[in-house]
Symmetry: C2
DNA sequence: CATATGTTTCTTATGTATAAAAAACGGGGG
DNA sequence: CCCCCGTTTTTTATACATAAGAAACATATG
C-alpha cells in the first residue's frame, strides 16, 4: 500500500555514487551507504539487491564489486520518487491556481481525493498541513473553504513579513566582524551577481535564490515561528510566480538589484541604511505581488 | 465507527432549550432548532427521536409537544461530547506535561495511539495540526521529536508576541471615538474589575479572560497570521498554567492590574503610555512563564 | 407558494489492514 | 570489542471500509 518512493529516490542517488567508482571496485559497506543516501539500511539493501539483479553490482562472498556502469536510462522518473503526500501538494496548487481560484469555494475532501486519484486520508492530511498558509479554513464537521488568493491575503502576509524581516535585518548591525554570517553574505552576493550577469537565460533561477536570501537574513537569530513563516512566503512565491509569468524577467532583475542594495546596507552596519533598503525592497515586492493578483 | 459526539452535545443543549419551555408547549420546527443548536437537521431529528423515546417529547400528528421536563441526570457526560480528535489533545498534553517532558524525546505515533486508545490515523492528524505550536518536529519517514517546553521556546514565543501585540496596541491610538471597539474595551475592563473584586474565589477564571483580552487587542486590525498565533499563546497558557499552579492567585492578580493599566493607556490614546504599559505587561508575563519553566 | 417533515445521497470522522521503511537483534570475523 | 551483514520486529505511509452527520431532494400541509 505504501509507495516505494524512498527506494526509487535512493536507487537514483546510488547510480550517482556508483558513477564515481571504477569497474571492479569494491563498494562501501551498507552502513556507509546508509549514511550517504540518508535512508535506512533496509532500503540500502533493497537498492543493492535491485542493482545486483541488473548486473550493475556483482556480489561475491563477503564483498560487492561494480559489475558494469549503470545507464542514465535506468533511473526512475522524478514523479515516482515523490511521496504521494508530496505529489498532492502539486495537484492541489494546480487545482487552486488554474481551476477554482475564486474565494469562498468549498473544498471537498472526497472530491479532491477522487480527482487526484489518492486516498481521502492523504487529502485530509495535506489540508491540515496546508492550513498554516492561511488560504483555507475548516468548518466543524463539514469541509474546508478556500479563502482566496486575494489582495487582502497579500497585505496581511506582507505586514508580518515586514515586521519579521526588519527585525532580522536590524540585528545585522550588531554582529561582530568575526561572525561567520558575513562569509555567507559575501557568498550570496556573489550568487546574485552571477545570476545578474546571465539574467536573460537564467531569470527563472531567481525564485530559489530569493528564498535562500531571505532565510539567510532570518537565520541571524533563529526563531522557530519566523522560520515557519518563511515557509509561507516561499510557498506563495514559488507557486504564485510559477503561475503568473508576466514580466518575470524584469521583476526578477529589479529584485536582484534590491537584494544587492540590502546586502550593501547590511555590511555597512548602518541602521538607517538597512531600514531603508529593507523597507524599499519589501514595498516593491508587495506592489509586484498585488499587481499580479488584481 | 465515527463517534456520535455531535448528537450527544446537541442532546445536552436541547435539554437546556426545553427547560425554557412549558409542559405541553409546542416545540420549534426542526429547522429552527437546527439553527439554534448549530447542527444539521439530521442530528436534530436524532435528538428529537431520542427525546421521544424517553417520553420528554410527545409526537402527535404534525406537531411535537413537551411531555415532561428532562432531568439533569439525563445529560451525557462532558467527555462523550468531545470528538475523539479533541480528546486526543488533552491526552497528549497530559502525556507531555506529566510523563515525558524532556526535550529530544521521540514521539511514536503507534505507541501514542495504543496509550490513548485511539486509531493511529487520529494521532497522526493531531500531530500534524499540533506542529504549528512549535513544540514538535517531524523527521522524514520516521516519527516526531518533542523539542521541549524550554526557556528558548518561551523566549521565541514572546519575541513574536511582543511584535504583534505592540503593533495592535499602537493602532488603538489612531481609532476614532466612534469605533465600536471602545465599547468592548469598557466591557472587558468591567470584567476585569469584577474578577479582581472576587479574586480569592475566582482566580482560576483569569486564563479565559486573558485570552479574550489579548484577542480583543489583536482584533483591531485583523490579520490571519496574528490570529493564528493567538492560538499558540492560548494553548501555552491554558495548558502550562493548568499544570503549574504555583502562586497562581498572585500571578493572576498582578496580570489583571497590568491589563487594567494597559486599558487605561489605550483609552488615553497616548502612544508612549501604550508602549510602556504593553511592554511592561509582556515583560512581566514572560518572566512569570520563564520562572515556572526552570 | 412557503414552510415543515420524510427520504435519499453524499461527505466527513474514525477504525482497520498492509506494504514499505526504519530500527533492533544476533551471530560471525577481524 | 567493534564493524559487517543476515534476520526479525516495529513503525510509518497509504489504502479502504463504514457509521455519523450534512446536504439535497421530495412530498405534504397549511
Amino acid at each position: 500500500m505504501r509507495t516505494d518512493t524512498t527506494f526509487k529516490r535512493a536507487f537514483n542517488d546510488m547510480i550517482d555514487i556508483i558513477r564515481t567508482l571504477d569497474l571492479g571496485e569494491e563498494l562501501p559497506s551498507e552502513n556507509a551507504l546508509r549514511a550517504q543516501l540518508g535512508v535506512s539500511r533496509t532500503t540500502v539493501r533493497k537498492v543493492l539487491a535491485g542493482m545486483s539483479a541488473r548486473g550493475i553490482i556483482i556480489s561475491e562472498a563477503h564483498r560487492r564489486i561494480i559489475g558494469e556502469q549503470p545507464l542514465q536510462a535506468e533511473r526512475y522518473p522524478k514523479e515516482e520518487t515523490l511521496a504521494i503526500s508530496e505529489q498532492v501538494e502539486t495537484s492541489f496548487m494546480e487545482w487552486m491556481l488554474r481551476d477554482n481560484a475564486c474565494p469562498g469555494t468549498e473544498i471537498n475532501e472526497a472530491e479532491l481525493a477522487r480527482k487526484f486519484g489518492v486516498a481521502t486520508t492523504i487529502v485530509r492530511e495535506f489540508l491540515n498541513r496546508f492550513q498554516k498558509y492561511g488560504l483555507i479554513e475548516k468548518r466543524q464537521n463539514a469541509g474546508w473553504i478556500f479563502k482566496g488568493f486575494t489582495a487582502n491575503f497579500a497585505l496581511e502576509l506582507f505586514e508580518i513579513r515586514e515586521m519579521f524581516e526588519m527585525r532580522s535585518a536590524r540585528l545585522f548591525a550588531t554582529l561582530p566582524d568575526s561572525s561567520p554570517v558575513w562569509k555567507q553574505v559575501r557568498a550570496i552576493r556573489a550568487a546574485h551577481l552571477e545570476l545578474l550577469a546571465d539574467i536573460d537565460a537564467r531569470f527563472q533561477d531567481f525564485s530559489e535564490l530569493d528564498s535562500r536570501f531571505h532565510r539567510l537574513i532570518a537565520a541571524v537569530s533563529p526563531n522557530r515561528f519566523i522560520e515557519g513563516f518563511q515557509d509561507v512566503i516561499a510557498m506563495v512565491f514559488h507557486y504564485h510566480y510559477q503561475w503568473n509569468k508576466r514580466d518575470e524577467r524584469t521583476r526578477n532583475e529589479i529584485a536582484i538589484r534590491e537584494h544587492l542594495a540590502l546586502i550593501d546596507a547590511l555590511e555597512s552596519r548602518n541602521i538607517a541604511l538597512i531600514d531603508r533598503a529593507c523597507r524599499s525592497h519589501l514595498t516593491s515586492a508587495r506592489e509586484t505581488l498585488l499587481r499580479s493578483i488584481v
